[in-house]
């Protein structure tokens, strides 16, 4: 049992923190968020140059072999800066699938570009009717000739508008809510029959609705087993949940700090509003909520990093805490 991080990890966290402090001010962030583009290519290139996009991938794939701790450290800082660039979509979601079940050719074709920041990717894990059930997949993949024919709809595809490749879970067998029978297909964004409607989300990330009407892909588009995609998605979503929770911890702490700071400056009734006990106690409550959440974040990160069988439950506990504490803060 050890709560300290290594020197390399500390340097990574500092590197992201420094970038946010020096080059990603709130004003800069709002310019990107309110612009037409979903994110800044320039910022994204910088993320790649600084090695963050490569951090979580095995050395064999051209990465730096980072794990849950590195993911947590990066995401906390990205949260602190409310960074809108598609780290989650590229690295954690699409990259997480490719890393786990992509073969060498697929990694060369799709993952290498994610790692060096030259290509954009997305994972279309949600459908209009699915809510939070990852196995609820109505999109179908029918074998045709040497490849597959895809039909269906996907919703809230993060980075879907900018992605060069979209990983599409589609049903190759079974009923709509079966865990078995889901295949994962790497679909080029310019495939015939693929239409996308792009928008920004309330937190200014790019996303898209997709329709797939008789989209033809080759056999080389199938990532891993044609029926075993659910297990992969579930593992990726565990990572992604840990990631968004780490991001949330960064956001919560920043919000708490800014609130405390403002309460010392804002004068009403001739005194800083931070001198009122009711507000002091409320800020203590938010501090405790932040610290309790951070504790669960460390717990989940360590268990996930060690591949513990308790990791998935720990991530759920963390997510629950983020959902309640985050709204409170």
């Amino acid at each position: 049992m050890d709560f300290s991080i290594t020197e390399e990890q500390s340097m990574l966290a500092d590197s992201v923190a420094r970038y946010i402090d020096n080059e990603y001010s709130f004003e800069q962030r709002m310019r990107i968020a309110e612009g037409d583009a979903a994110f800044s290519q320039e910022v994204w290139q910088k993320c790649a140059e600084l090695g963050w996009t490569a951090m979580l991938f095995p050395e064999a794939d051209g990465g730096f072999d980072g794990g849950a701790v590195e993911l947590m450290l990066i995401m906390q800082q990205l949260g602190r800066g409310l960074v809108v660039e598609p780290f989650l979509a590229n690295v954690v979601l699409a990259g997480g699938v490719l890393r786990r079940v992509g073969d060498e050719a697929q990694k060369q074709r799709w993952l290498a570009g994610v790692i060096d920041g030259t290509r954009q990717a997305a994972l279309a894990f949600a459908e209009p009717q699915s809510r939070y059930d990852l196995a609820n997949v109505a999109t179908t993949a029918r074998p045709e000739g040497d490849g597959w024919l895809l039909n269906g709809r996907k919703t809230l595809v993060l980075n879907g508008g900018d992605a060069d490749v979209i990983i599409v879970p589609a049903r190759t067998a079974g009923e709509q809510r079966d865990r078995d029978g889901i295949g994962l297909f790497a679909v080029p964004a310019d495939a015939d029959g693929l239409a996308r409607r792009c928008y920004k989300t309330v937190d200014a990330h790019g996303a898209a609705e997709l329709t797939l009407a008789d989209v033809r892909v080759g056999s080389d588009a199938l990532l891993g087993d044609a029926a075993g995609g659910h297990e992969t998605i579930a593992a990726v979503i565990d990572d992604a949940t840990l990631a968004v929770c780490a991001e949330a911890v960064g956001i919560m702490r920043a919000l708490h700090d800014k609130t405390v700071e403002y309460s010392k400056q804002r004068i009403q009734f001739g005194v800083p509003i931070g001198s009122f006990q009711a507000l002091q106690h409320r800020m203590v409550d938010t501090l405790m909520a932040c610290e309790q959440t951070r504790s669960l974040l460390y717990r989940a990160t360590m268990l996930q990093g060690e591949g513990s069988p308790d990791a998935s439950r720990a991530i759920s506990a963390l997510k629950y805490q983020v959902g309640t504490a985050g709204r409170y803060v």
């Binding site: 949600a126 209009p128 009717q129 809510r131 939070y132 059930d133 709809r153 919703t155 809230l156 809510r177 409607r197 928008y199 920004k200 989300t201 309330v202 937190d203 200014a204 996303a207 609705e209 329709t211 004068i267 009403q268 009734f269 001739g270 509003i273 009122f276 009711a278 507000l279 709204r327």
Partner: protein, 400 residues
């Protein structure tokens, strides 16, 4: 002690219900049902329909054109308005400035303003808050200095709701600074928005809408006749108005309507193969909210009953404000939960037609829930923040 309606009350309810069925315009209904912001003209049109019916001024004294309704009739009217999902009358004229004018204004002011307010020929906005004066309203700095038969007004008012629609603004301004209590130097002034030196700048809120504004006054000359009541007594007048505003804010009938819609939504949303409404955790929280709302409805009725026998809406109105806004915000949050992923897309108006790909991305639907959630965070802050309300109750009700 009984809760059932008398025959006369039932007849009144039927009359109101028929009115909404027959006179509430379809195009307004459609906008309301789809969560599309009404235009200035929409508001005025609806106000005039109510005016023709004699129902524009629910709370005014009969001699000025009020309804003379009992608390129960007002309760019925509020419920029927909410059940028709009809808009409330814009409050700034009818509910806010008018009570001050008919209580403290001169005969001339009453004749000049009340008929136009009643008929919606004049749009009003509120000039209370300032950048440096929020919870501590008495620290306001906007000055009105006498110069002959005019005041010269300088300063800035903020969070001015729908100020860009307004013909007139009622303001609290400082007319004296050498006073024992800061409150004593404040006066209540009516200002024509067309006067030179008045400018309105939009504030775009977190969900991207223009609802509020900053209003700037630069050497704005206002006739002395536009002072309501006595100079230096504006704070007292304004406080009366705030208590009216607070009762108004509770929005019980509206929340009842929204809760019913939330239940419909949850019943039709499939969540893990069963309706969301059958999810025990969701259902339990919905029930808890309903209980709280039933309680608030009766707390409001008790308050109105007390007012009817001559008591003023006192500090208890603060309870209605606190609980009412807490419930509204909980409803906002549960609508977001029910919407699931569809709460996330932030779809500005112009883009919406192109989203016909999914009915849930259209107008007035799930994609509105998060925007409404964010917009309505203001509810626990405006009209005197809930913390200020608690201070008021502690002092005036508990004697602390």
């Amino acid at each position: 002690m009984h809760v059932s309606l008398s025959d006369a009350e039932t007849a009144f309810r039927d009359e109101v219900r028929a009115f909404f069925r027959e006179r509430y315009p379809d195009d307004l209904r459609e906008k309301q049902d789809n969560g599309i912001a009404l235009t200035r003209d929409d508001y005025v049109r609806w106000h005039k329909i109510l005016y023709e019916q004699g129902w524009a001024a629910v709370n005014w004294p009969v001699e000025h054109g009020g309804t003379g309704w009992t608390p129960v009739q007002k309760y019925i009217f509020a419920n029927e308005t909410a059940n028709a999902n009809a808009p409330d009358i814009v409050p700034f004229g009818i509910k806010m400035v008018a009570p001050v004018i008919y209580t403290y204004g001169s005969e001339a002011q009453q004749q000049r303003f009340l008929p136009d307010i009643l008929a919606s020929n004049m749009w009003w906005c509120q000039g209370y808050s300032e950048p440096g004066a929020g919870s501590d309203l008495a620290s306001l700095k906007t000055r009105a200095d006498r110069d002959g038969d005019h005041y010269v007004v300088n300063g800035t008012k903020t969070w001015t709701t729908l100020g860009h629609y307004a013909d007139w603004i009622f303001c609290l301004v400082r007319t004296a600074s050498d006073v024992a209590r800061r409150q004593e130097g404040i006066s209540f002034l009516l200002i024509d928005m067309d006067t030179p030196g008045v400018s309105v700048r939009p504030i775009i809120t977190i969900e991207g809408e223009r609802e509020v504004n900053e209003v700037h006054f630069e050497d704005v000359r206002v006739p002395l006749d536009n002072l309501v009541g006595e100079e230096g007594r504006g704070w007292t007048y304004g406080k009366v108005l705030l208590q009216h505003e607070r009762t108004n804010i509770a929005g019980v009938a509206r929340s009842k309507y929204r809760l019913a819609r939330l239940r419909d939504k949850a019943a039709s949303t499939v969540h893990e193969a069963t309706p969301l409404l059958e999810d025990r955790n969701f259902a339990r929280r919905l029930a808890a909210l309903e209980v709280e709302l039933q309680a608030l409805e009766f707390t409001e009725l008790r308050t109105l009953a007390a007012v009817a026998v001559g008591k003023a809406p006192g500090p208890e109105s603060s309870i209605l404000k606190i609980k009412g806004t807490e419930i509204q915000q909980q409803l906002d949050a549960m609508f977001v939960e029910a919407a699931g992923y569809y709460a996330l897309p932030c779809v500005p108006h112009e883009f919406e037609p192109s989203f016909a790909v999914d009915e849930r991305l259209g107008l007035g639907t799930e994609t509105r829930t998060a925007l409404r959630y964010f917009n309505n965070r203001k509810a626990s802050i405006y009209g005197g923040s809930n913390e200020i309300q608690k201070n008021i109750i502690a002092k005036h009700v508990l004697g602390l």
